[in-house]
């Protein structure tokens, strides 16, 4: 079971994502942005960070990296892909997922532990969670507000493609102004998941708010083993 982790110039949480894969029993394979080869991995993680310094627009330059020429068709063909934070931004810029991520409504970078409700457990990355379960993981970004037009939002909700929603405070506000409190979404097929919070920072006791993030990595390991068995 080999999970590729792409490093773009400016990726930061690539080593953390690789550690999370290993901690959950997988083999992490480092993929280089300039390499147009996926090296036969069974799944890919686009990690957090500031690829290309977030210049122009978050994820807008990374989208054109040579590795994306291989990744986009593979993802469209069913390869499990997880985009975390900047990785989510790369997925929306690549049109693998709808919507966009804009500056937080309070206009500051914000690093906080957040509670997420899991609303879809049929994706490649969430099958180890229970429907409606609350998980506590880290949110840290400056441009994390998920936005889309109302039709897209209605469609995402109608098709059950909202995977995670933020908990709200006493004033009904989520941590960054995301529309309909959406923290993470998936594609029609359920193999591509993008979210702003960081499950890879919640896999080891003592080094993060919880170990609730492990479910992402154990889910995909099971998913690929099962896919291999039915293939």
């Amino acid at each position: 079971m080999r999970v590729g982790v792409v490093t773009f110039p400016g990726s930061l949480d690539d080593r953390d994502a690789a550690r999370a894969v290993r901690a959950c029993g997988g083999e992490a394979v480092s993929l280089w942005h300039g390499d147009d080869d996926l090296h036969g991995v069974d799944a890919v993680i686009l990690p957090g960070g500031f690829s290309y310094g977030d210049y122009l627009r978050c994820g807008a330059i990374a989208r054109f990296a040579p590795i994306m020429d291989r990744l986009v068709p593979a993802a469209q063909g069913g390869l499990p892909v997880l985009g975390i934070c900047n990785g989510f931004q790369v997925l929306t810029e690549s049109h693998l997922l709808p919507g966009a991520l804009i500056r937080n409504d309070h206009r500051k970078f914000n690093c906080v532990d957040v509670d997420l409700a899991v609303e879809n457990t049929s994706t490649a990355w969430t099958s180890d969670y229970e429907q409606g379960q609350t998980i506590r993981i880290v949110l840290k970004n400056g441009e994390g507000a998920f936005v889309a037009d109302n039709d897209t939002l209605d469609r995402l909700e109608g098709e059950g493609r909202v995977v995670f929603r933020y908990g709200v405070d006493e004033h009904g506000r989520n941590p960054n102004g995301s529309y309909r409190n959406i923290a993470g979404i998936t594609n029609e097929r359920g193999n591509i998941v993008g979210l702003m919070p960081h499950p890879e920072h919640a896999v080891e006791a003592g080094y993060g708010p919880s170990t609730d993030g492990r479910g992402f990595f154990t889910s995909v390991l099971k998913h690929t083993v099962e896919s291999a068995a039915t293939a």
Binding site: A20, F109, K140, H201
Partner: protein, 766 residues
């Protein structure tokens, strides 16, 4: 700022002021005074090189002989470090003072380097870029030792929270620290945010970075081996930050003076992140013989220091330096402080491998010269020699001043005006009200408005971060071995008594590291003071260094490096002496660190250490009475050491539910913070804290060498054996949703939090 007049504007003078031209025109008037040099310094330069300096040489000497780079006012006092460092203290010191950063051995073949540095003046002029490049600069210092940077911390001081200019400076500084550090992928694990009127025109931005490497991977800033190539890599050189060290960091701000913004550098954290990864690959490939970052004084500093530390000379073709602005003149290129640049010394047969790695990272790298077997630093510009100097005279043999020092006359009166005359609260209700006012006061209030703008989780090794007492990060993922770091300083204590104040800062940082469960190992310091031309400030400075050096000797932990920032004053008014101390400690397994908050119900709460009636310079006197006077709390380093040993031993055995240092605001504030952290309350009795110690003194005194701990019933017996003869008072137990002080008051955690959390958002917005 004033720039040297372009030579081409003088009629009949060649456009390049070469060495030959300088020799032929000895009487040419030069703008040495505008560059910050004194007349005797200029005369000294002429004597060293035997002629008038070229404009490029003058530029180099002016920046390298600035207060910021040459330590000309402070270095006569640095003998105190050596005199107070014993052989035993040197044992774990792999690299000491004088390099880019000190390095200590933390065991298992791991070395850790750390240093704190000021970026005060730029941060006042241009808060975002000033603070951002402060982080960038210290990170490059750590990188140039061969280490991977693993964490940053920031010690910030601002003027009055309600002053309009604080609203300009603080959000910019915080966004700059976050904007740069977050983009580098370095966890920000702690620091300080302090407000005091004395910092209104001189905010302090002190940035600390920690790095780790295997002991065999240590690199030094040294250009040795004739024929080795000099490679400049990273960002192109631009016109930003020209004269930053001489203009900004080495002068006092005058009201109504010209704006100094162009002297502030502009940072590009993305370029630096790529540079970090690129450098680590270069180290791994073994292609770097010597390395130096370009910070203050830019190329002037890097070339002269590398050559000065090496065994020969150096020749550099300055016209090969890649430029962002083609119109820059040679002396400007030498002075530019453009960020995200490094200089490496590389053996000729390794140049190709070096360039292959920089190519992979899209980092521009250019061979600009080589190490020679001569003893001069020679710099050419399109073939003309424009610099020909002994490098040591630039880098290490600058002027030294024995500035006059004199104990300030106001000190007797200040010390005589103690807190005894202040009205003390007489009822439980008054104590309760004062506690709530203090929790909401600028220095004690919740700082998450600031710290939530910093990524504390990236790298996945953070075991403890703000608001806990120390930041703790894992270094070795297989064993859990790691380090704890804390920075502290109470400038009010140092104002009342700089010797004691410096030792109290050292003691607090030491205690914070021990409270987290780590064994204190080494010290870095950032000495922020007013003008060295004021004998009173120089006296404070000398006293503070003496306090730190003697304190370190007593505690057996060496100073490994640091930084001096003078001229932190507006007009005649200097800041409080602010010697910020960073202490680094080591833990075999950081999973056993102690947090500062109560976590479970039914644990025993103990106060360790001795409480006396000590309120001089306290937060209580400051907040409730706006008073500063008397003497700071007594320093008892033997007690600190004993307390530290108990805390570390208890952590190693996993006996503590929580441990929290007592400092600003005393026991009352420590208890409030401990109950607010995880929402677990406590019931305590402060009637028997000490002989003659009433409830008020028990709650608000700031006696040093004390900590609050919570121990589960299961471990209470074993804990009793460990503490030995350390004074220990059983205060009560954890539980409930209130802080209950028997016979005095009850306050709910919700009410504490409401008071604690509202302050910064009320000023800066949600």
């Amino acid at each position: 700022m004033t720039q040297p007049v372009a030579q081409s504007e003088h009629s009949g003078i060649p456009s390049i002021d070469s060495v030959g031209h300088a020799a032929a025109t000895p009487d040419l008037e030069q703008p040495w005074a505008e560059l910050g040099l004194k007349d005797d310094e200029y005369a000294n330069i002429r004597e060293i090189i035997g002629r008038r300096p070229t404009i490029a040489e003058l530029a180099m000497y002016s920046v390298m002989w600035s207060e910021h780079c040459s330590y000309k006012s402070s270095k006569v006092h640095f003998t105190l470090w050596g005199e107070n460092t014993t052989d035993e203290m040197r044992e774990k010191l792999l690299v000491g003072i004088g390099e880019n950063a000190g390095v200590v051995d933390i065991g298992d073949g791991w070395a850790v380097t750390f240093k704190v540095e000021s970026h005060n003046h730029p941060s006042y002029v241009e808060p975002y870029q000033g603070a951002a490049t402060g982080v960038g600069g210290i990170v490059r210092d750590i990188m140039s030792m061969g280490a991977r940077p693993i964490a940053v911390m920031d010690s910030l001081r601002f003027g009055n929270l309600s002053h309009p200019d604080t609203e300009r400076v603080l959000p910019g500084v915080v966004a700059g620290v976050g904007g740069y550090g977050n983009c580098l992928g370095l966890p920000n694990i702690g620091g300080e945010v302090v407000f005091d009127d004395c910092y209104q025109g001189n905010p302090l931005v002190n940035a600390l970075c920690v790095g780790a490497m295997r002991t065999e991977d240590i690199h030094l800033a040294k250009a040795s081996g004739a024929g080795n190539k000099v490679i400049l890599f990273g960002a192109k050189t631009g016109g930003d930050g020209i004269g930053g060290v001489s203009v900004l960091a080495s002068e006092t701000f005058e009201e109504g003076g010209p704006t100094k913004r162009p002297a502030v550098q502009v940072g590009d954290p993305f370029a630096e992140k790529v540079l970090i990864e690129c450098c680590l690959d270069l180290y791994k490939a073994g292609v770097v013989a010597g390395i130096q970052d370009l910070g203050g004084a830019g190329l002037s500093c890097a070339t002269s220091e590398l050559a000065s530390n090496g065994d020969g000379g150096m020749r550099v073709e300055l016209d090969l330096v890649p430029l962002r602005d083609a119109s820059l003149e040679p002396h400007e290129i030498l002075m530019s402080e453009s960020q995200e640049r490094m200089m490496a010394i590389v053996e000729p047969d390794k140049v190709d491998a070096f360039l292959a790695i920089t190519d992979r990272w899209d980092v521009e790298a250019t061979v600009i010269g080589e190490v020679t077997d001569g003893d001069h630093l020679v710099i050419t510009w399109h073939g003309d020699v424009i610099v020909d100097v002994p490098p040591r005279s630039v880098a290490h043999e600058g002027p030294t001043y024995h500035r006059p020092l004199e104990r300030p006359g106001y000190l007797d009166e200040l010390q005589a005006n103690g807190p005894e005359s202040l009205t003390r609260p007489e009822s439980g209700e008054e104590l309760r009200t004062q506690l709530l006012s203090m929790l909401g006061s600028p220095n004690l209030c919740d700082k998450s408005w600031v710290t939530n703008q910093y990524d504390r989780y990236v790298m996945g090794n953070t075991a403890l971060a703000q608001p806990d007492d120390a930041g703790v990060v894992r270094v070795d993922e297989s064993t859990g071995r790691g380090v704890a770091v804390a920075t502290d300083c109470n400038g009010r204590f140092a104002q009342l008594d700089p010797y004691a104040g410096a030792q109290l800062a050292l003691a607090e940082a030491y205690r914070n590291v021990a409270t987290a469960g780590a064994e204190p190992l080494a010290v870095t310091d950032c000495l922020n003071f007013g003008s060295p031309e004021d004998p009173g400030v120089m006296w404070q400075f000398r006293e503070a260094i003496r306090g730190i050096a003697e304190g370190c000797k007593f505690l057996g932990i060496p100073v490994t490096g640091g930084n001096v920032s003078f001229y932190n004053q507006t007009g005649d008014v200097a800041i409080h002496p602010t010697p910020v101390i960073g202490v680094l400690g080591v833990m075999e397994d950081v999973a056993r660190r102690n947090g500062s908050g109560f976590r479970t119900e039914g644990a025993h709460v103990y106060l360790l250490g001795t409480t006396r009636d000590e309120l001089g310079g306290s937060e209580w006197a400051h907040v409730i009475h706006k008073h500063l006077g008397g003497r700071p709390p007594a320093v008892d380093l033997a007690a600190e050491q004993k307390l530290g040993q108990v805390l570390v031993a208890a952590a190693q055995e996993g006996l503590l539910e929580a441990a929290h240092d007592l400092s600003d605001g005393g026991l009352a504030v420590a208890l409030a913070e401990a109950v607010m952290r995880h929402g677990v309350g406590a019931r305590v009795d402060v009637a028997d804290v000490g002989e003659g110690v009433d409830a008020f003194t028990a709650l608000f005194s700031e006696s040093a060498a004390r900590a609050l701990v919570a121990v589960s019933a299961e471990h209470a017996g074993r804990f009793g054996q460990i503490i030995g003869d350390l004074p220990c008072v059983h205060l009560g137990t954890t539980g409930g949703r209130d802080l209950v002080v028997d016979d005095q008051f009850t306050v709910s955690i919700a009410e504490l939090r409401a008071a604690h959390e509202a302050t910064l958002p009320a000023v800066f917005g949600e």
